[in-house]
Symmetry: C2
Subunit: 341 residues, 2 copies
């Protein structure tokens, strides 16, 4: 029904090869011919059929991005940035939501959509280590975690160092009882483990004792989890005077609990988060946090994939680990003053 190479060729009075040459910008086409063909293309509204092209070339021009959930502002931001970076290479991005389910993540790694996708950028939540080995040959770039000698390329910040930075900010403010919200037991919860390690290191190096009662476990990394964990902390015998939350959503939830109970932030309890999502810039008080260089993460992930997809020498090399910067952002929740109504 839609016009094909054949139709254009007929209208322009040339062969389909010539039309194909024009479409693909082949140089050796007589100007007059080119003009005639172009006119026919425009008149017919010809658009190349991507399915046919892919069938021939084996390339779809589509890469997949798999994230735990789009609702989470951090992942939504990363997704937007990756789409932009991919666009510069005229790739289309297929966004996949895993909901953190191991089954779905396994499918992805096994190569679910196989022929339909040229590469995969993957932020795993339920899987770690060996399970992340790609079965089919689709190139994959891992996001967000440092998997030790991992089987695939990955790009991440130094989670442990960043967590230490956040915690050290609190100790440098003179806080002595610093809680952590976001602990997770599962072996695959690499983020949580790394941030906990960074927190403990900073606490210890400030000469404070780590206290299991201050390390709060959570189900997920959402506002509700943070709010609940903070409530438990406040109900304990010795409440903290500062809290490091493993992401901003947890921190915003904690903030909610504190403020609704009339606890002053930061006077009574200082709060710092992680991710630098937009919400934290407009909460009351505004939220101190650690900001990963998200635009750079997105750009590097796409670049890495491009290398693997290209036919340069880098295409077949060993897995690479790229480190991205982070920085501490100090706002009211650690150094401000509670406004008096």
């Amino acid at each position: 029904m839609p016009p094909g190479l054949k139709d254009v060729a007929a209208r322009a009075g040339v062969s389909i090869k010539t039309v194909s040459n024009v479409v693909n910008g082949y140089v050796h086409v007589a100007p007059a011919t080119r003009a005639r063909v172009q006119a026919a293309i425009d008149a017919l509204g010809y658009v190349p059929n991507l399915a046919a092209r892919q069938l021939r070339s084996g390339r779809s021009g589509v890469i997949a991005l798999a994230v735990p959930e789009l609702q989470s502002p951090y992942f939504a931001e990363i997704a937007g940035l990756i789409v932009q970076a991919a666009e510069r290479r005229s790739w289309t991005v297929l966004i996949d939501q895993t909901d953190g389910q191991a089954e779905r993540e396994r499918n992805l790694v096994a190569g679910l959509r196989r022929h339909a996708i040229d590469g995969l950028i993957f932020s795993p939540l339920a899987l770690a280590g060996e399970e992340l080995t790609q079965r089919d040959g689709t190139p994959m770039v891992l996001l967000g975690e440092r998997v030790w000698h991992g089987p695939a390329d990955h790009v991440a910040i130094d989670n442990t160092a960043a967590a230490s930075d956040a915690t050290r900010h609190l100790t440098s403010l003179g806080r002595r009882r610093i809680a952590a919200i976001g602990v997770q037991d599962r072996a695959s919860a690499v983020t949580a483990h790394q941030r906990l390690a960074g927190y403990r290191a900073a606490v210890a190096s400030a000469g404070l004792r780590t206290d299991p009662a201050l390390e709060m476990p959570v189900e997920g990394f959402h506002r509700a989890d943070g709010a609940a964990a903070m409530a438990r902390l406040l109900d304990a015998a010795e409440p903290p005077d500062a809290v490091f939350c493993f992401n901003d959503l947890l921190a915003l939830g904690a903030l909610r609990t504190l403020l609704s109970r009339g606890v002053r932030v930061p006077e009574d309890v200082a709060v710092i988060g992680f991710d630098d999502i937009e919400d934290g810039r407009f909460s009351t008080p505004t939220l101190s946090t650690v900001a990963p260089d998200a635009p750079r993460i997105a750009q590097l992930a796409v670049d890495l994939l491009a290398e693997r997809l290209g036919d340069g020498p880098a295409a077949a090399g060993a897995p690479r680990e790229l480190r991205v910067d982070h920085r501490l952002i100090v706002r009211e929740s650690t150094t401000g003053a509670t406004p008096r109504p």
Copy 2:
């Protein structure tokens, strides 16, 4: 390189047609044959090539969803819900971010990706009315706006009524100077126009006078816009005692300005938003708002598309308009009390 029908056929000692029959669940295949073919499929790890299938069938199994921006929690939520609804029909969703740029939206409507996509669910921002007429035959479902006698199917809430509900909630609380944040001039800003109309209607029917000084224009619908508009309102000669913000992000920004200036919410100024995003359930104070039935919007959009894509009688009918419910959600920002630190 990956195995095809041919390879499976060779291994099972049958023709490719038989393999195809097995793959597609055709009924008339001898059980013994089916078993033999299935064994070969498993052994070889055969996966159908979607490009070839599409080339044949003309169907890709992919629909596109175009939203202004994923960063916006409301659109992120809608996107997640649509992906889930599409999954139930084993469709894949390609998410497209228009950034509200007219050019990109025009491309979409003109049929940018043409052959690659079976249908389009589109939440327009820059385009309206006639410009939304589909040029190629790809079925399209419009989201979020009521375009009068529009050229395509669409599903939306009654924006004007919902805005009136929000405003009426404020008047019923005895507020007399009610501001609106979110006014936009552009002819295409249908949402803003409809919510403004609803606001004015409710103000008038409460026996109050509408006042241009209370109708605040904004660039976009983000927190920063709301914060700035609120600041201007507070600096005016007669500040309002209540504000209706055209979405929750604006409201959260307004909240930030109010609280940082020591204005009590809701005692001094009551605030209500629109969308019911998660942030509003954890802000301090929690945010009163109008909640569209998002899951239903997503489900209906996908169902509508399915009808057009099917070959039933509904596939060719006139454009349909589906109305979705909304409800008022009352929280602390209108009826609570400021906690005293």
